[in-house]
Symmetry: C3
Subunit: 460 residues, 3 copies
């Protein structure tokens, strides 16, 4: 019987004992100080303000924004912590890190995002006022960081991830401000601001952190049976709650309703495309879990911009169907090329799930915006395209701004990712060596029996 | 150390490379064409219509149906994709197929159900108008297909399952139309239209697909430790969200509230009955995971018809308690008889979880309807039994229609299932051979280590 | 190859065949009789009453309490059944019992709690009127029982657990009545009534049930790789939905909104503290799953009292940060001392997760109450501190009652736990022997392959 592989790595460089606590505590203290100075309850969460406002406007409690958005918020929250967290547990020896580091960087990012998004577009009299909508926005920003985490999964330490999160959240807020407030583009579900941004930022980072000898850990960079089932928990939660994600911050009433429904049909069509393409590209005609776990979600990504528009149900299905095809083909044919030719090691294939479908979504949004007409939208134009409604712009111009926003987002994300990658190359962050990537054991107390089972199996 | 079992099956007949993609793409294209021709946003999802209606009726956004039903919809959605999907992962080598094929056929069925249910009872001026209520109904119909999937689990290819879904959804919509619109029966949570229909349809199919040599795969038709834990995820989600399922499309206000509460207490009582009977029927006095995973849910099935009625909390508990007893006894004593005497191979025991408790639920609904009185319901009669309220019928007649509906449903489901089974016997659908049932490996890329571990264990 | 360990335990004393069914059925029959006599629908769930009330008060359906609280209820429900259930699956051979017994005693406790809480503070004209708020309260009470279950996990039979539940729920209702209705303390999220009560009750029981020879089962009292991932499902669900838990029964409008948001930020800060301390207390600088699974939740416990108050977001973060530090240090340093010096064998470390953070939460609530002022709360004082608003008490006095409530809760819980422990020592409940603790095999049908794999691994 083979012996469990001995862990003989020099431990000094991956030891987190000082590096992680110092990073966490310094960051949290900074966050706490900034919250103390800048952050206040908004009207719907402040006891005095809400009761004052209510009596003035004859409002009832059910008009509190909480009841319009909290169920959507909780669905988004599940996507961030269960969805992203478990989607990445597919690796055989990296489950603790996938779900654990996802937990850590998400918990940090949502605090930092509250501040950064507040500074750029939530200031009232010098204070950041927060409520359920800012909580959703913070979770959205966190989503972009987790997408980037998917690109570098298995090759970075938690210290690196936290530093990446600080920079990415900041740039996210700047880009979001440019896209939504300067260019006045629409992107409620974040095809551009979340998915394109998160994907290209992560690809930038992983390109700079390229490891030519990553094949030394390659035997760990794959799944086992039950790790794939854990990953399916993540997939299914993301798939189910994507309608809530895209509709979480659209206008109340028909807008939220329509966005959720468009996304629902897009995802359903995407799933059939994914199964079809997964079988056809396999020589034995077998399905591949990687495709099902990921590409079936592309229909949600692709509805991030146009979901709230009058795209029609059938339009949504066509978009989802295309997204599933593009994404599955990307996993099969593009990922190996990106790694071999362009030295981009994209562990989870975020380019296929978030990058390309995000570009599709932004493009669909551009086209749909250019077709907006008073005949179709009626008074609802006010909510979807307020600038067109007020005569400040035309559908054609709106479409131009949509397209420009996509370009701006890709630029900021790629450059930001590359610069962040350079910063993360400094060898002080407890980075794993090439031989110990995709391995929980260096950062977590792991009982030996699991290692043993895997070793035993891999030696047969 | 034993070698992993070699997979020597003739691959030509289970190869999905052409069959699955063609089926998926043809079906999706048909769906897309029909959606383009027939499907439109309803008033609550259409930008123009909602804003026009709102200004006319002085409606506020919080009166949009989205806020009354979307949280329930999401709970139902979780039951369909996580609940049913993971409940069936109990088989040791069939987890990918359980959750994956569940995903595929559910994603297809909800699209097809939108069309079929729309044709039979959702047409407005020649168009099918859709919103959150039609989404819930589509998910409900999908539930029936997944119940039937449970009966044939492990013995059918995804191509067969998709064809089964096409037929079953169509017949479901016809039966639903007869029961709810012709016979005017009440069945908000679907004891009849969903559970009886899904169970007897599936039993019909599996009877025709009877495999006398299924014992060749029998060693795979059981669970391992962690597969039972995955299945418990499915069980618990179904159990928790069943109150939302039964109340999702009942009338707004007290009806949704009462239905959810009745179901909650029914399920709680059912759980105690299940544990009690599971221990008493075991010679060593040990509990059986199969019972806990399934029979504890029978209390939800049994409340599908009477849940919205004034059954009282204690009435609900008595019904749940009986459902748990019947279901557990069914798993222990009836399932082997069905297989040996009647050649019905019911993999998940859907007859025990959906069939018998569905009959109980329909019966309870019949009795409760016959007892409806103005004294108990007051003005609320309008919502629960509009025909009685308007004097079009009497409680006794309503009860007759309820009982007749149960019979009609069983008839259509059984005959439909048998005919579908005959169609699925045609050997062109990549059906697994008797020796390779309950085995992911023929349809999925599976890493060898899992096979190895199981083989190793089974040889000790 | 080593042989699977033979299960040679005398089976007569752990055989559940009569004991469990009798306990379950007797209890359920008593519950059913009491429900028949005492329990009725409340105004929002009764068809006649709601429609009558609605026409009188010109109410609309969206004012039904269902729409204010049902989404929160479902989140709480998920915490009780998935959260607590899976959190305890970390033990390698005790997953069935963790999630299964959690299911059983929760299903019983919520029924019994409906009665006990109804007797003590829900009687109207001699009847207990129930609706969504009583369902939330019943789930809350169940939470306390499950906390106590965590303390005795692996060392008790399901019969013992059911008897513990009967007593604990009863005492919970008495204590809740004293704290909320006699002392008029505020404790919406239950830092005192749920967490302190559940923890100290459980510690009392486990102290009396002390097993000096528990080391005979010690090799099973640890996790394996995938059991830790299952436990993370529980952790993440508890973490995500804690904002709903704390806000589920606070006043409508700004109160629910503010409570959810305070808890959200508290938990985020707590998570960073937990990772920091977990790394710093480990000699190799590695993270420990036990800490992440548990201590990251302490921020929710600590917000149970003050969550609805005007604590400010930054105040919440500071509380969460402290809770994470205290809890992680408790797991590392206090748990071994409790076991060795005080003979308290606390399997899940509930003292660290619920006991100490509960005391912190009660203390924060006391301080925050003492600082309440009309300037900060405005008219909102009416909802948060009605007695102060009406001039019946002062902030200082309110703080005194808060502090006293903590003491009363600890007293009743500890003494109640000790007395319950004495009752459970009677050797008639199918208690496991010292050598068979933390072992599913004595109460469940378990396939041998799992035992084999673990034995194989543990012999290397």
């Amino acid at each position: 019987i083979p012996q469990p592989r001995r862990q003989t790595m020099a431990e000094y460089n991956t030891n987190l004992r000082l590096k992680l606590p110092i990073t966490c505590i310094v960051m949290e203290v900074i966050v706490i100080i900034l919250f103390a100075v800048f952050v206040r309850y908004d009207t719907d969460t402040d006891a005095r303000k809400w009761h004052k406002e209510k009596s003035h406007d004859n409002k009832s409690n059910y008009e509190n924004d909480f009841y319009f958005r909290y169920p959507s918020f909780q669905d988004v929250h599940v996507m961030i912590f269960i969805g992203f967290g478990f989607l990445m547990t597919f690796l055989q020896r990296y489950g603790f890190s996938s779900v654990g580091f996802n937990f850590l960087i998400a918990a940090f990012s949502l605090q930092w995002a509250t501040l950064m998004q507040g500074f750029f577009h939530g200031m009232h009299n010098g204070k950041i006022e927060i409520g359920v909508e800012s909580m959703i926005n913070a979770d959205f920003c966190t989503g972009a960081v987790l997408i980037s985490f998917g690109a570098v999964l298995g090759k970075t330490s938690p210290v690196q991830l936290l530093i990446m999160a600080v920079i990415e959240v900041t740039l996210f807020a700047i880009n979001e401000f440019l896209v939504l407030s300067v260019l006045n583009a629409k992107d409620a579900g974040g095809s551009m601001t979340i998915h394109i941004f998160g994907a290209y930022f992560g690809l930038g980072v992983t390109r700079v952190l390229y490891r030519p000898n990553l094949d030394k850990s390659q035997h760990k960079n794959c799944s086992v049976y039950h790790s794939d089932l854990f990953a399916m928990i993540g997939t299914i939660y993301l798939w189910m709650f994507w309608p809530s994600f895209n509709s979480a911050i659209t206008a109340e009433g028909d807008d939220q309703h329509r966005t959720a429904m468009n996304t629902y049909y897009s995802l359903a069509a995407c799933t059939l495309a994914t199964f079809a393409i997964s079988a056809v590209v396999n020589h034995e005609g077998k399905l591949d879990m990687v495709h099902i776990q990921n590409a079936a979600l592309a229909g949600g990504v692709a509805m991030g911009t146009a979901g709230e528009m009058m795209l029609t149900p059938v339009g949504s299905m066509v978009v989802g169907f295309l997204a599933g095809i593009i994404s599955t083909l990307g996993f099969k044919y593009l990922t190996p090329i990106l790694e071999e030719k362009f030295h981009v090691q994209d562990t989870c294939g975020v380019h296929n799930l978030h990058g390309m479908p995000g570009v599709l979504g932004a493009t669909v949004g551009t086209i749909t915006a250019s077709l907006a007409s008073a005949e179709v939208y009626g008074e609802g134009m006010k909510d979807v395209f307020p600038d067109i409604y007020e005569g400040k712009t035309t559908p054609f111009k709106q479409a131009m701004w949509q397209g420009l926003s996509m370009g701006v987002t890709m630029g900021i994300a790629s450059i930001g990712g590359i610069l962040t990658g350079l910063l993360l190359k400094v060898p002080i962050y407890a980075t794993p060596p090439d031989t110990m990537c995709f391995e929980d054991n260096i950062y977590w107390e792991v009982c030996l029996c699991h290692s043993f089972c895997l070793t035993l199996a891999s030696n047969v």
